[in-house]
């Protein structure tokens, strides 16, 4: 270790440590690698608040059938917008290989209930009798 002469007059340190910068960069990289898949998935819907909501972990599964109805009345199956008329056939197609026919409905709390009922009717034609209405849980 050589002795570096520190001149009292100049207080500027021009030997910047790169190592901490690289550490911070790597940590940020890892944060974004972890968070990004969770962000892009879902159609944006404001779910209604319910006090008696139960956990429905099946809704997070890869093959869960999720129908969303947004505030402006559009119906989405997964990420794709569909016409309400086609919804029944598409849901039936998705449910062909599954044993328990459960569909999850994410409808905006201000969505027109008539549109929601139309979506439910279509889901019904696919032979589904169990419907999970996804909600936020109200803090008690």
């Amino acid at each position: 270790m050589g002795i570096s002469k520190r001149e009292e007059g100049k207080k500027v340190n021009s030997n910047i440590n790169v190592t901490p910068m690289v550490d911070v960069m790597l940590v940020l990289l890892i944060i974004f690698m972890v968070v990004t898949p969770m962000l892009g998935d879902k159609v944006h819907v404001d779910l209604p608040v319910a006090a008696a909501a139960l956990s429905m972990e099946n809704a997070n599964k890869e093959d869960a059938v999720t129908v969303a109805v947004t505030r402006d009345g559009h119906t989405y199956l997964g990420q794709n917008m569909v016409n309400t008329g086609d919804l029944g056939a598409k849901v039936a197609a998705l449910l062909e290989n599954k044993t328990d026919k459960e569909v999850f409905l994410r409808a905006d709390q201000r969505a027109n209930y008539g549109k929601v009922m139309d979506a439910v009717d279509q889901i019904r034609t696919a032979g589904v009798s169990q419907l999970g209405l996804l909600t936020e849980k109200r803090e008690q």
């Binding site: 997070n60 009717d121 419907l131 936020e136």
Partner: protein, 143 residues
């Protein structure tokens, strides 16, 4: 401070462990903070068309109706009796306390906001009714 591990040519081979531990702790905190979100919801049933067209509807079905009142707050009825919103849950709890089969149906006007109907379904679950059926135009028409 002694000089450790001096190699030929002056290259330093001692790695600082401290920054590694810092990074490790930061990662630990990040993963503790990113808690996976479990979706929560209300389970409901959709009545399927009856196979046998001649079976009469079972007696004593409870139908909770949410009626839109134009711009104002909706009004609520349980089987033809009107109730205030805050009275629904106690009344449902009372009705179902004595019942074996806890089944109820919810019907709402098409012009309502979904939130209003979701609240009624919520009241049903709070009153311990597990089987809540949604009545939609097709269900009413019987197909």
């Amino acid at each position: 401070m002694g000089m450790g591990g001096g190699n030929q040519g002056g290259t330093m081979s001692e790695i600082n462990v401290t920054p590694m531990i810092d990074v490790l702790l930061v990662l630990l905190i990040i993963f503790m903070v990113i808690v996976p979100v479990v979706p929560k919801g209300l389970s409901t049933l959709i009545p399927q068309p009856p196979k046998d067209q001649n079976t009469p509807p079972p007696e004593q079905t409870i139908v909770v109706q949410v009626l839109a009142n134009g711009v104002g707050e909706p009004s609520y009825k349980i089987n033809e009796d009107s109730f205030a919103k805050s009275a629904i849950e106690p009344k449902l709890a009372e009705i179902f306390a004595t019942r074996q089969e806890k089944v109820m149906f919810v019907k709402g006007d098409a012009s309502l906001d979904y939130q209003k109907v979701a609240e009624v379904i919520d009241f049903g679950h709070q009153a311990d009714v597990d089987n809540i059926g949604l009545i939609t135009p097709q269900v009413e028409a019987g197909h």
